[in-house]
Symmetry: C2
Subunit: 556 residues, 2 copies
């Protein structure tokens, strides 16, 4: 057995460094994003693939309380047979087991809990290749992206949440000596203690597209602040979280703690156990990533809990002018194509003045800009192998349906075409569609079209575009926004507009940084200031609602 | 004009010291609690009294947007004629004016806002004597308590909120340089900025008994995190907050800012503008102190806002044993008597084993303990002048009604009697009532009897008492709890029970510290972990929900 205190000592340097990075917010990463042999070792890639393959067609090896049968609900967007079945636990049994584990977890204290969490994340990192295959075949992310976003980037986000939770739960001293001077007498003296107490059972509801990246912050923030966590994966993306829970339970058991501090709640699609769990009186924290519809339902109905949601929105690009037209087109076309636009951060609404834009390559009319963007997409996705590596596969029928619907819009600039993958002939791969709209077509563009669907929207002016941006994002939310302009005045106005809209802003991205990507320990993801999300990944607000500081005091 | 940046420089040392004190949580106070000449100057007391007297029978000098008439709603529990009238503003006009002031306030930034807040608090401190009279004659607090709790203690709580807000809004750097190493190339470099953006218009709803102490934390936390604040006083206690708002508006105006960043919303009793304000779409933060009924209504209905409430509860004392019986009786009788039990922190339920307790004065049966507590109350309150100074006056008819109701309970240990005040013959002053109950009488003791009403409740054992304590506090809330025991095992069990119940615990208070009192910068008030309050005064959670951190990034 390795105690939580020992695990804290083992990982103390890493945790200290993570807390420092979260404060400084410059570049730092704990987990290398390159799936190369020089980093992860000669055998890591084949061993990870073998581990993944071994799981297929089997009952996933995990013991849970109150199991009632098994569930098998995943299908690979790449067309391979998964057939992994998972034990299905009674949600009420999971809540009861989680609740029973609380007092011992509370007694571990913040540093011990952070030590346990760091050990879990390190073991997750060691299984990054296995997880990459699991993420690829549940989300449709291409392998390298599945490795990076589902592996090290998600692990960095996990560690970031641990760092915030550790800092927030240790900021108030555990013990303080209070001595109040008294006129003509000895001071009044009290010894005071502060104990961190978790809010209660926590439920993390995962999504289909980023099962690890989007679930880890809530999972680890809740755990380190003293709460047991029930992980409820999307029925289409269970495996990455099942592996995560399996690792968590092993670490907890080895540390002499109840494995039920982290458990797994699977269901047949449509069974609705997320709602059952989220409204259970003992469930006091809910983290959710997914549709606005269910996110809003949770916010309205899980009233006994604090609810952190990340939902959908209208990610917006304002194009005013540029001194790097090629760079803009290259960067933007990649942003629209990466993982087939199935990121909550992919731009949807491209606002461009109907009179065109000034660029280093001369004035470009709106028609020219549309044609050039379409050509840039064609160039990026012309080679099927490279296209498949960028696009990944279409995750589910919902995206496919919207793609078909968008294809019927009247003015298509770039049509969606099929791409064939050599390695996985059964994969569903499609290039993005870009349609032209007018500012008056708000009925179309104020709806989120999750997937590889974007709109080039003609506006009266950049000023008009900024007004549309603020109005639509305030009303419907957004996770990202970006602006292209050579004018300091326009950039300043765009910054103010982004503050008014409540969204983070990227300016003039024309190189190797993309608006869809945020770096842990530096970029916040989501703001809480617009309807797309109730909080940021990760800041103090994301962790402080998960625990209470309780004091006792006595004379000395 | 003194700019916010200059005000920050002026008060920087004070603010730094406050931030440090909030971190260390040992004894620190910025504002002397003694109303003595040696501290506040020879003329401070008479000048303050003159200033107060000058206000009586007059229109209170304050300009507000959208005024519709005047309101006069206060009556002194000490029986003097107040007849101060206040301009009544249209709530919608206040919201609109507050909203219009937001962009300039956002641009001031965290340190400038903290500078403005510190200047306001310093000027409030300079008017402590005037405020003491205003608090005394609206709440019924005796003068010295009105001076301390309504003046310096409230100012310390205000400064504490400023310190937490300043620390939380400056923890993330305003600018960061990000450089991500690239294999075989220059690093990717981005400059990143973070801007603090307030959540929106804030409404602070005051209470009748502690208009300043309970309102200042929300007022200053919201203000420093970037939000305009509309102060809605209780119709019975307007003057202390009107003075506060008057000072705030003067400081804001002198700093070149809109005075409408802090405004005053008065009403005739029963008009219900608190509900109108709290559910206005532009109101995004609500702070409330008062009844559970309206607090719960706000939590359920002000869905567009974050809602911080401090409501009622069942403050509990567990008596197991003591090595200072006299000290226990003296301390407890003072806690029950101070301000006639009209504190949200006054003990109500005294849980004592029916077989009695062991003490340094020998075994005491439950009957003996009851008689001794009653005698201690008699001794404390025997002299009318001293009694009046401790008890203050009964604030309103609600308390008077409950006192009469409690007097009809079957087993009265101490009856409520009238006390005459020499200085204010019209004052309504009453000694506390203590009734004996059994653990089975939960219908009576699980209701809050706000006022000088307590119950000596016979339990089967201390273990039984701890069970009742946890159950009743989890279900009905509490702001304070205390235990008396000489047994380390019992104290440990009481600590665990307090963690389970979600309430702060005081142990063996027999000297000059009382369970009803909390010290700013050291003791938290409320926990959020039980139904009596949704947050603590003051910790990070109390401030982090009031703002967002918004980023922008661009290549360098």
């Amino acid at each position: 057995m390795t105690t939580p205190a020992e695990l804290y000592e083992t990982h103390r340097e890493l945790l200290d460094r993570a807390v420092q990075a979260a404060q400084e917010r410059d570049y730092w990463s704990a987990f290398p994003e390159s799936p190369s042999k020089s980093v992860y070792g000669e055998d890591a890639a084949p061993a990870g693939e073998r581990a993944f393959t071994t799981l297929l067609g089997q009952q996933f090896p995990i013991d849970l309380p109150g199991t009632l049968g098994t569930v098998q609900s995943e299908r690979s967007p790449y067309g391979i047979e998964l057939a992994v079945s998972y034990p299905k636990a009674d949600p009420l049994a999971l809540v009861a087991a989680a609740k029973a584990a609380i007092p011992a977890w509370r007694a571990v204290g913040p540093t011990g809990r952070a030590g346990v969490a760091a050990e879990i994340i390190k073991r997750i990192n060691a299984r990054s290749f296995e997880l990459a295959h699991a993420v690829q075949h549940t989300t449709g992310q291409a392998f390298v992206m599945a490795f990076q976003a589902g592996g090290p980037h998600a692990q960095d986000r996990a560690l970031e949440a641990v760092a915030y939770a550790l800092a927030a739960t240790t900021r108030m001293p555990g013990a303080a000596a209070w001595a109040k001077p008294q006129r003509g007498g000895d001071p009044l003296r009290l010894a005071k203690t502060t104990t961190v107490v978790g809010r209660g059972v926590s439920v993390v509801i995962g999504c289909n597209t980023f099962p690890t990246w989007n679930s880890y912050p809530g999972l680890f923030a809740s755990l380190v602040t003293g709460n047991p966590v029930i992980v409820k994966p999307h029925p289409g993306a269970v495996l990455p979280l099942a592996i995560t829970v399996q690792i968590s339970r092993a670490v907890l058991t080895e540390a002499g703690l109840s494995p039920d501090l982290v458990s797994l709640a699977v269901e047949e699609p449509g069974e609705g156990i997320a709602a059952t769990l989220a409204t259970h009186p003992d469930v006091r924290i809910v983290d959710f990533t997914g549709s606005s519809e269910f996110g809003n339902w949770l916010e309205a109905n899980a009233r006994q809990a604090v609810v952190y949601t990340e939902k959908s929105g209208l990610n917006t690009v304002i194009v005013d002018s540029t001194d790097d037209y090629k760079g803009l087109l290259r960067n933007l076309s990649f942003s629209l194509s990466l993982y087939s636009g199935q990121m909550c951060t992919t731009p949807q609404n491209l606002l461009v003045p109907r009179d065109g834009i000034e660029t280093d390559a001369g004035h470009k009319s709106l028609d020219e800009f549309g044609a050039d963007l379409s050509a840039a997409l064609g160039k990026l996705l012309g080679d099927p192998k490279r296209a498949a590596g960028t696009l990944g596969a279409i995750v589910n029928d919902g995206v496919r349906g919207r793609l078909a619907e968008a294809g019927d819009l009247p003015s298509i600039l770039a049509s969606s075409t099929e791409v064939t993958d050599e390695q996985f002939p059964g994969a569903t791969i499609r290039t993005p569609v870009v349609a032209r709209l007018d500012a008056a077509d708000e009925k179309t563009y104020t709806r989120e079209w999750f997937g590889p669907i974007s709109f080039l929207i003609a506006t009266d002016s950049t000023r008009h575009a900024l007004e549309i941006f603020v109005e639509t994002v305030r009303a419907h939310g957004a996770l990202t926004a970006s602006v292209h302009s050579t004018s300091p005045e326009v950039l300043a106005a765009a910054r103010e507009a982004a503050l008014d809209a409540g969204v983070h802003l990227s300016e003039n991205l024309t190189g190797g940084v993309f608006v869809n990507q945020t770096a842990a320990f530096s970029d916040l993801h989501g703001t809480g200031a617009n309807p797309a999300a109730t909080a940021s990944l990760t800041d103090d607000h994301f962790v402080t609602g998960r625990f209470f500081a309780l004091q006792s005091r006595h004379h000395v």
